[in-house]
């Protein structure tokens, strides 16, 4: 009888090979705790989440614009933009609208609940490149959520940037997010513009589309200077009009950044659910410059 052929089993004889393909790179989630919950509007809550292990918390760092996958065992896993300042490393703020299975379950959780966090994933806004330049931050609806991280980062390092304009629009006053922070944002060295599509009796501010706010800014005497960067986050229809206006105002397409939303089941370029043409929103995005997405069919 000849020798039977046997293979090196990666689980048995070669423990090293198992370590190399340790699921830590793929299926591992950092245990985290919901430390605070703020009800922002009827549907949106701000969750403060802390990575439990102090070592992991210190190692966790992210750049504005990146996202994490949040997992609730038995319920599901979904991507969420990090909405807090990158200075706070393992302490994240995620603003989440109760709209699906996972988010509705999350809305019923209380302080102290355990969740799993993996990431951070994806590309970020190039804030280093933007230093010394004017910045336009334009957000619509839930678009303020991914915008808030670069916004806080700019505010914390205000002296490094030129003129800063924040424009934010929502459907109605009741849907405005982070209202408690507007006073903080409305500083002598910041132009904060807030608009709603439909006002109610309590609304003192302005009514109209965000494009009107932008139009005012563009037609000012100090129109968009050459060294201007724009960050745009909002629903697809807003991207379309805002980016068109900015392009017509002379802003180069590679100085305009957008953050895209897609369905994701892995966040690691494997499930293909966020694929647009040759691009994975999770790996190549969610932050793209406008030139890259303009070339992608059906991206915006």
């Amino acid at each position: 009888m000849q020798n039977k052929l046997n293979f090196i089993d990666i689980l048995g004889q070669n423990p090293d090979s198992r370590r190399k393909e340790d699921p830590s790179s793929f299926e591992y989630t950092l245990p985290a705790e919901i430390t605070n919950i703020y009800q922002l509007t009827t549907n949106e809550k701000l969750y403060q989440i802390q990575i439990i292990d102090p070592g992991q918390r210190n190692r966790f760092s992210f750049r504005p614009g990146q996202f994490v996958m949040l997992e609730l065992p038995g319920i599901g896993e979904a991507p969420f933009s990090i909405s807090s300042s990158p200075v706070r490393r393992g302490d994240l703020e995620l603003c989440i609208r109760a709209v699906g299975n996972l988010t509705n379950f999350l809305a019923r959780l209380e302080r102290g609940a355990r969740v799993g966090i993996s990431g951070p994933f994806g590309t970020s806004f190039p804030l280093e490149k933007m230093q010394g330049q004017d910045i336009l931050l334009i957000g619509g609806g839930l678009g303020i959520v991914p915008l808030r991280s670069p916004l806080l980062s700019v505010l914390e390092n205000r002296s490094k940037y030129g003129r800063v304009d924040i424009m934010y629009g929502a459907k109605s006053p009741a849907e405005l997010l982070f209202t408690y922070q507007y006073e903080e944002w409305r500083r002598f060295d910041i132009n904060l513009g807030i608009t709603v599509d439909r006002a109610d009796t309590s609304w003192q501010g302005r009514t109209g589309l965000i494009t009107e706010l932008l139009q005012e800014r563009i037609s000012q005497a100090t129109s968009l200077r050459e060294n201007t960067y724009a960050i745009v986050c909002g629903p697809p229809v807003m991207f379309h009009f805002v980016c068109k206006m900015l392009t017509e105002a002379g802003l180069p397409m590679q100085k305009m950044f957008v953050s895209l939303e897609r369905r994701m089941h892995c966040g690691r370029g494997k499930c293909c659910r966020c694929n647009i043409g040759s691009t994975y929103t999770c790996l190549d995005g969610p932050v793209f410059d406008y030139w890259s997405v303009m070339n992608l069919k059906e991206a915006i």
Partner: protein, 345 residues
């Protein structure tokens, strides 16, 4: 590459040497409604069960490295927290006995994205690494357009590749394991006559191709014809059933679902292969669907295979096996779709 030749009856010996592992090979599964035999890859327990003269299997052997459903992790849930357990589901080494070149190339393409890119998929890699592959030459079927896709022969991704020369097999050896294995059976170096027969067999095979796809500049043409009415025409025929992805050897898109056990103490996370033709593929929370029409989804499938993947990995994700066309309930075949998008009837 090292070449050897051995008599056909030696193949049974080869099978016996490998039988300590799980052997997966082509087996006959019955006939279709026209009396044509149907084959599929399955676990084999006896050499005589192997249908080595098979034409093409209905499904690809993909499911043995990328199962349709796979448990990714389980959870133990308690009042004050939970623990996650991960199992790569790799238990035994596997032998693919008699894979055609297109299916070998399909695995090579899956490797590009699942094993060689950022965040390798450990579930796939574990199974893929414990794989011994014996390739087998084939006679092209009417639906095969692998020659157009450049996947009609495999140059890597196998241990041993056999070509039928009548009474003998011509073997290409790519791994030390395969070399050791062949040393244990009666084989010899190929003679001048064997080489002549081998080249004859190859040119004979090439005469059988009937289907083809014009691939020159295909990526650019797909971009130029993004708004082509041809997509709407195919969209009207397409039933959005996802059968094409089911039989495709390279489709790897998936969805993840989690469930809680009845005891409320355990939970699990399962990955299931999905299809970009299914209606919910690109739907996000809030019910916005990025590809709401069957035409946009069908178009996306061609874009991913023939454009997106090419941009990312410099080769198409399609191996031209033609399974999707044969299995399609609406008779949509890639050669026809691509010809119509190019503006040819």
């Amino acid at each position: 590459m090292i070449f050897k030749v051995f008599k056909k009856q030696e193949l049974a010996r080869l099978y016996e040497l490998l039988a300590v592992n799980i052997i997966v090979g082509p087996v006959a599964k019955g006939n279709d409604r026209n009396g044509k035999p149907l084959f599929d890859f399955d676990v084999v327990y006896d050499f005589n069960d192997l249908a080595l003269d098979y034409t093409q299997t209905v499904h690809s052997p993909k499911r043995f490295v990328l199962p349709y459903h796979e448990t990714l992790s389980t959870f133990a849930v308690a009042r004050d927290g939970w623990e996650k357990h991960v199992d790569l589901n790799v238990y035994r080494s596997l032998v693919f006995f008699g894979m055609h070149a297109c299916d070998i190339n399909a695995l090579n393409k899956l490797d590009l994205v699942l094993a060689q890119s950022a965040y390798p998929n450990p579930y796939y890699m574990g199974k893929r690494k414990n794989l011994f592959i014996i390739g087998l030459d084939c006679t092209p079927e009417p639906q095969c357009f692998c020659r157009s896709m450049g996947t009609d022969s495999a140059i890597h991704g196998f241990d041993l590749f056999l070509t039928d020369l009548g009474g003998t097999y011509f073997a290409e050896i790519l791994s030390a394991t395969a070399f050791d294995l062949l040393n244990q059976i009666n084989c010899k170096d190929p003679s001048a006559k064997d080489l002549r027969l081998y080249k004859q067999a190859t040119s004979e095979k090439n005469k059988h191709y009937t289907a083809s796809v014009e691939t020159s500049d295909l990526t650019k043409i797909l971009d130029l014809e993004f708004e082509s009415p041809a997509w709407d025409d195919w969209g009207k025929k397409c039933l959005s059933c996802g059968t094409c992805a089911n039989v495709c050897p390279t489709c790897y898109c998936y969805g993840v679902e989690e469930h809680v056990d009845l005891d409320l103490k355990h939970a699990g996370k399962t990955r299931s292969l999905h299809s970009c033709n299914l209606i919910d593929f690109a739907k996000v929370a809030g019910n916005h669907n990025f590809r709401p029409t069957s035409a946009s989804r069908l178009k996306y499938r061609y874009y991913h295979k023939h454009r997106g993947f090419v941009e990312a990995f410099e080769e198409s994700l399609c191996v031209g096996c033609g399974r999707c066309g044969s299995a399609c309930l609406a008779d949509i075949t890639p050669p026809e779709v691509i010809a119509s998008v190019r503006g040819r009837e």
